[in-house]
Symmetry: C2
Subunit: 117 residues, 2 copies
């Protein structure tokens, strides 16, 4: 695969992490945000499936390995400061969120957006 | 203004920050990601303009106060864990990025997305 960006220039934070915004490549809906360390970013690129660092479990987290709801990578964008990623993705299931909703920004009780106002 | 979410339930990280994804309310394009502390989130809601915490300058940062490129808030969504925000926004100028591009994910040299592959 052609990589157009020097991965050594990715800026990980003090915890070795970078936020990765998962955005549906067609609908542009934001599905979730999670964090990657260098190892999980490299695995994500190799597998073309999202692999995160779980901050709660402190381990590599191949999203979908348990649920079957994999995040299939179409492309990855990096911002001007090289400290944020957008992962353009497709999904294999109907749900990304552990609550069963399509995105982590939808409330399972009423299926509406979790809006502050 | 009606606030539908208890702001005391927002989960700030160990540095007192929460990532805020700025997404255009019509095009759904992701414009940038920055961080808010509790004070800047409350100011954002009061002003209906994005106010961040600048991690580099270690100060409250009212986006647009210098450049004129304000981010006008349409709504704010919060995720299932209450530790990520999507800010649905309009913009007053043509540019959000300090490089002069419309979003922080576009390269000013060729005006193309900063794609990793």
């Amino acid at each position: 695969m052609n990589i157009n960006f020097d991965l050594n220039k990715v800026k990980f934070d003090d915890n070795g992490l970078i936020p990765a915004i998962i955005q549906h490549f067609e609908t542009k809906e934001i599905l979730m945000l999670a964090y990657m360390n260098k190892e999980s970013l490299i695995k994500t690129i190799e597998l073309k499936e999202a692999v995160f660092w779980s901050r709660s479990r402190k381990e590599i987290w191949h999203k979908g390995a348990t649920s079957g709801n994999y995040i299939k990578i179409k492309n990855i964008l990096i911002d001007c400061d090289a400290d944020t990623l957008i992962i353009f993705s497709d999904i294999t299931g109907n749900s990304v969120c552990h609550t069963g909703t399509r995105t982590c920004f939808i409330n399972p009780d009423d299926n509406l957006a979790r809006a502050i106002f």
